[in-house]
Symmetry: C2
Subunit: 452 residues, 2 copies
Amino acid sequence: MDAETTRSPDLETLVILLGFGKEAEVRDRLKGMHPADIARLIENLDEDVKPRLFALLSPEQASEVILELDDPSKRLILRALPSERLSEIVGEMDSDDATDVIGDLPADRAVTVLDRMEQEDVKEVQKLLRYEEDTAGGLMQIELVAVREDETAREAVEDIRAKGEEVGDLHNVFVVDRHQHLVGIMPLRKLILVPPETPVSAIMERDVVRIGVEVDQEEVAQIFKKHDLVSLPVVDAAGRLVGRITVDDVVDVMEEEASEDIYHLGGVHAEESVLSPPSWSVRMRLPWLLVNLATAMLAANVVNLFEGTIQALVVLAVFMPVVAGMGGNAAIQTITVIVRGIALGDLTFQNSRRVLGKEILVAVGNGVATGVITAVIAYFWKGLPVLGLVVGIAMIINIFVAGLMGTLIPLALRRLRFDPAVASGVIVTTFTDVTGFASFLGIATLLLAYMR
Amino acid sequence: MDAETTRSPDLETLVILLGFGKEAEVRDRLKGMHPADIARLIENLDEDVKPRLFALLSPEQASEVILELDDPSKRLILRALPSERLSEIVGEMDSDDATDVIGDLPADRAVTVLDRMEQEDVKEVQKLLRYEEDTAGGLMQIELVAVREDETAREAVEDIRAKGEEVGDLHNVFVVDRHQHLVGIMPLRKLILVPPETPVSAIMERDVVRIGVEVDQEEVAQIFKKHDLVSLPVVDAAGRLVGRITVDDVVDVMEEEASEDIYHLGGVHAEESVLSPPSWSVRMRLPWLLVNLATAMLAANVVNLFEGTIQALVVLAVFMPVVAGMGGNAAIQTITVIVRGIALGDLTFQNSRRVLGKEILVAVGNGVATGVITAVIAYFWKGLPVLGLVVGIAMIINIFVAGLMGTLIPLALRRLRFDPAVASGVIVTTFTDVTGFASFLGIATLLLAYMR
């Protein structure tokens, strides 16, 4: 997106108006705005002003804005919000969103908020709270329109009239038998085009993509993509229809998963955003830097072993960062392709040996090419032919290790059920740093007599 | 997704059957499979077998499979396919997909293929070819159902009956005036619930989100997300309805954009996948490694300036990789947050100063924390208090530079209309390598007398 074209509304004006206590005027300005825009606005406010602006929203608006907020702002506002008002706001939400908000509250707060909500909404939320947040059950909403297979098209239309108003995004009507088992799906267009007495069972599609409540959200997203769906019925173990997932929730999941991979590859917490408070960001990023510090010390220890060699030929220190750096870069290239391949489902256990073979070939090709170039540069720069040879060989070894470990480590982490995006980088670059310094300085030690 | 749960169909069996010339049997096995699964299967075949398997698909199946293939396989198969059969396959596609395939062909091939297609399809493709691939015009399809505002609900149903069968994914009917200007949208559910004589203008929604043909696809995706859409009408400069974009295409765009950012941050070409041919991967990754080699040589030159200092105190070589490496890691953290913030639209020009302030605070916090720890380690390990001081100060300076440049460089690249994900990493880590070595070895040179 072009950053310049999305002018956020005039932040300064609102802050000034709030400062002068002109709350009615602020309320008026907020009325016509899109919830996502209000959320962006709030995220950019100072911490103490955020809840004050949020308090000016109608319950309906507030229920939509809160879903669009980033996590730090959401937490802040939820903490500041009186329970009574929170109950009112949550009551406006679809069951899946209400459950997400309630699920994020501390237990005693959740009970207080639920106590003040309508009995029917409470039941729905309690039902949904049983599912893990990142499964089909955690994503689904209870609101849906289902008709019985033995109804006529006319009766189905009556059902839709009765329930359709409270169910948003109605694209498909689900068809169930008398025991609530999902037996078909009926696109609305079909209902329009048949005579009213046609039985539902004659026009429904029986071949329905469905998903179990326990399935992981990444798989849910892949099913939407594969079948180009706009909504997906969710069934329990007995095949009974218990909810539906709509495509807008899946779009959010996909973005969340992609962000997570990007952040984890970069050594950043998945919830960080450009607007996270600095102290929070320090707390989240520092542990990662300390892990890297520990591995850097490991590499420093390897260099330490060869102090004598460096003392004898100090020009080696000049090429150390080149060998280690190139191994690191080659490793990151391989890890990026492998981690993304795992996330997209392109890399499976069937083809992992083939992929490893490819990465080894690529590593040999790139290692030889950059190794030879570096050897030539080192030779002409320093006039030491054997130095060139040592640098070149160390580079080839190191890029080979980068390709090998860059493939094996993410696969192993995956196998052990760790997120390969989180730890692959630090583990693999530790390997490349250690083998880079060890091979470069080790070979140099062996050939020291020929290098001066 | 869990890699283990998606068993791909039995590759070996198919290859053996093909080897024995049992093509009828292979054809049978392919018949019941989902296009996406067939595509995964083909991607895993050897290059010479790919076109042979593809040739066994029906034109309809082939038209869906080709859209699911990764780029290298798609290119290979398109090259091997006789023009006549390609015309037949493209004729089965929606206008947007047909245009994408034709647009990827060499000009003379495209003309040959279009020559053999039906006149009506050719016109649609020619219309769509005028738009850039990554704009709303490039994403949209011409197939849609539009009714006139002065029709009745009954007439609208007739229109849908007439055109609805050839238009897939029909969720909304668009409403136009007599000059094809988009004036409203009518959800199908409304059409079901009103008496047949109701005029369309009485039930349509007038407040329609729409988009111009020229708008960039990233912005299209953001609009879908913001408004939770399943389809979006596309209008020309005069406000006339010219096409529609459906959510399944936007889901693909989002995944494409996320992959692109991940790949570019990792220094990999956006089209690379785990199954790309090794020679192609070498050609794509090598230039990036050479750029990094050039910048590593720049850093080596800085070290070279201080050869005398290292000769005098060789323990400095041990801590060089620690200082440079930590700066690099801190830089990547900042770049990740900034690049993702730009992509998600969280980082705008309005709040960039505030974000810069945050990153500087984070850098100071993390720099001081890791600097002090490293200083203490260096002191206890080597017993040289001033060495600890020098390492610590260099680390603080370097992490500060990482935060500053990690924020400014992506913003500047964005401003200059370059993709910040591509070049930020190499530019910023060049800065951190150079300042890391320069500050560490520079300060050490000044304090050399106190360090032994």
